[in-house]
Symmetry: C2
Subunit: 463 residues, 2 copies
């Protein structure tokens, strides 16, 4: 903002929705098609980098390339940061080297880390080369921490003060600093060995007299993050303890950086996305802009697992070929028992996976949750057993068939409750992400048990 | 923290995990069992309110009540805020009125709003009564805004300044304020009609000379939230634009409050939880501490829908009773085609639901995404058609059976891709949450199409 600018209140959007405006998108694509650079720059000028990134994700690969080439030297680093990972390599390869260099030089070092960490070596090299020496060292240092660790997430620039300082000391120091971080919310108090001991919010500093000692203003909640901590744990801590920023320490407990809530929020969002996609058996790196071939390949593993498990279920059915041959009604009804079990199992499983992720399912309440799910299965089994028993009798006029389907339903729903809770817990125990693998196991169990219970009972009773 | 306290660095936990410590939980439960109040208070003293709330959620109802009664007057309002909604009424009914009154009086007004909005009228009344007049008015005003709106989320205390003020003006004003909000990160600049025009971070104010005009320090990104905006949209805006705090305005665009990122992060987390539970057909208000009966009831609607759809599928199978009677192998193989379709449909559906939630699936790319999913279905259909065709031939020695299952597989996987994307988009268009209802429709389609394609083809070809 230049000094002569007159500030005017922004106009809140009418539709209270932050989706990209379809008319705007059409106008942009028209400018790209007609090669009208001025109009394109004009249209993109007021858009936030995150929205421009969304736009690039939504248009097709051809328009995306044309747009980037036309926009060219206006393309800034923030758009790169906001782009989803799967598109970054593609976009970077389209940018002219000079444009890329300029874009990257404008970025904060933690954003550069986030940008380069997933690039191939050649592209990573090219970007590191254009950085100034100090920035390059910072980025390389960050890359030396394990992926998905607090070290990758933190910014190195911290604002700290000795614990004996007063408000006046802190304000004078900050006013004389050459360069304060773009965003910071606390002054971190450190002991003589540089170990963080407390946080003081800027608001408290603002509201206190110059002579007040900082340590009397320190916040009640104070959480220190070890540099090797997994980013998922970091996000959990921010959400659980309502942290705004937290100091990061090395193995000697010395201050080496700070993580702010906006980065933790982004991680929380990514972790959720991962869970939801994994639960559905979609590769967790999948995105809407992936090509048909990439998507086809991503989806194959889960479908292959499902093929094996459904063949397994068919093998169970095959054991009852004679029963089926004599009583075709069984073939008509058998998918119902399996399907109800699969759904009930998925319900239990989702609750368990989510509770494990939020650390709400622990050894203190495991037994209670498992028995609750089994009882819920029992009661819902009874409810739907009665309904289906009646449907079976009316439809086929064979009372014993109604009894068979009812009993099989109860058995399968109890098993669904047990498997839906037990399997994710076991997977978590052996170190496998329960979101990733539980679904296949649980539906295999409910399919096999559903078909077996129904057909075996029918064979025993009806023939 | 008292003035004489010596600050010491906190010890980062060894296991880098924020779960409740099982040993600690046992000790707490032992103290509760033996009625040892001092020991209980001692054990809970260093625990964060959010962790105490988690503990209350994890223990059984009997222990929970005993713990609350024993802890009694140490029980503070923050624990109530952190408790999940389904337990609040229960806990409040156990607290002595005096304890409750004291707990509530210590809370910030926006936390009180969050606490009381879901309580029954009698409990709400009881809590409002103990508040001081000014707080009660604030809470009642907040409750007058629609549920899940920005108005419910915001805090009314704002720190603002006329746009012509300097850094020095702002610091002097804040230092002389009786009571600044507990947490604030920006000074909001307003025009003479109280309309917010810019945000200035406290960090910028700290780092600038006293005579610098505030408006020269204003942040590039500035977003104003209308008071009636849905909280999900608010959370989206914070995440998309990396906001830390945003002013809330009334219909006349005048400043009436502020929302901070920690509240937006909590909403984002809740929205995710809702999506993931709805996708699995679990009531989105469900929680681990619900009783068996509550849980049984919550799960019934989705299971009932599933029962109806699977009976529908069975009716399709029943049309082919004669075919099945003559060729029992069909009964053995038919669940495979339906199951593969159901899984492929769930994959497409989850990607679509998630993309709708993040506003990445729009009219600009709808057609491309739908055709991509159909093509992915086609290609994966071909892959698994070949596999299953071979399995079918080997297993039953009938080449035509292999062809039938292969063709049915291709048809069902293409339909799965189309339905998995099309149905959520249609539901969103007519204003139904796609996370809630898509699953039932998509699996109905893939079951019906799967059984029909397989059995009809078999009937035509094999008999």
């Amino acid at each position: 903002m230049t000094e002569t600018d007159q500030l005017t209140p922004p106009i809140p959007s009418d539709d209270e929705d932050y989706s990209l405006d379809a008319k705007n998108v059409s106008a942009i694509l028209f400018a790209v098609e007609t090669g009208n650079r001025d109009q394109l720059v004009d249209l993109l000028e007021d858009m936030h980098a995150a929205d421009i990134a969304d736009l690039l994700e939504q248009v097709n690969a051809y328009d995306r390339r044309r747009l980037i080439q036309l926009y060219d030297r206006e393309f800034d680093g923030e758009i790169l940061s906001e782009l989803e990972e799967s598109l970054r390599e593609d976009v970077i390869s389209v940018l002219r080297p000079e444009t890329l260099a300029e874009a990257v030089r404008d970025m904060e070092s933690d954003d550069v880390v986030d940008l380069v960490e997933d690039l191939d070596d050649a592209q990573q090299e090219a970007i590191l080369e254009v950085l100034e020496d100090a920035d390059r060292v910072a980025v390389e240092q960050a890359l030396s921490y394990p992926e998905f660790s607090a070290g990758r997430l933190m910014q190195r620039e911290t604002v700290w003060a000795p614990e004996h300082w007063t408000v006046g000391d802190a304000i004078d120091y900050m006013r004389n600093s050459e360069e304060l971080p773009e965003q910071f919310y606390h002054v971190i108090l450190v002991d003589p060995r540089m170990r963080p001991v407390a946080n003081v919010t800027l608001g408290k500093i603002m509201g206190s007299p110059r002579e007040a000692p900082l340590k009397n203003l320190s916040e009640e909640m104070f959480q220190v993050i070890p540099v090797a901590q997994d980013e998922g744990e970091v996000a959990y801590a921010f959400n659980q303890y309502h942290l705004i920023s937290a100091p990061v320490v090395d193995e000697d407990e010395r201050l080496i950086g700070v993580i702010t809530i906006d980065d933790a929020m982004a991680v929380l969002d990514e972790e959720h996305e991962e869970d939801i996609l994994r639960l559905a058996g979609v590769g967790d790196e999948s995105s809407l802009s992936d090509s048909v071939m990439e998507t086809t390949k991503q989806r194959i593993p889960w479908l292959a697992v499902n093929l094996v498990t459904s063949i397994l279920a068919s093998l169970v059915i095959a054991q009852f070929e004679e029963t089926l041959a004599q009583f075709v009604a069984l073939a008509i009804l058998m998918p119902i028992v399996a399907s109800m079990g699969g759904n009930a199992g998925t319900q239990s499983l989702t609750v368990a996976v989510r509770a494990l992720a939020t650390k709400d399912l622990t050894s203190s309440n495991l037994w209670r949750v498992v028995s609750r799910e089994a009882l819920v299965g029992l009661f819902n089994g009874i409810v739907f057993a009665i309904v289906m028993g009646i449907v079976g009798v009316i439809w086929f006029g064979t009372p014993m068939l109604g009894v068979v389907i009812a009993v099989a339903m109860v058995i399968n729903l109890v098993v669904a409750g047990l498997a839906g809770t037990g399997i994710p817990v076991l997977l978590e125990k052996i170190g496998v992400d329960p979101a990733l693998a539980s679904g296949a196991f649980v539906t295999t169990v409910t399919d096999v048990v559903g078909f077996f219970a129904f057909l075996a009972l029918a064979g025993a009773v009806l023939l």
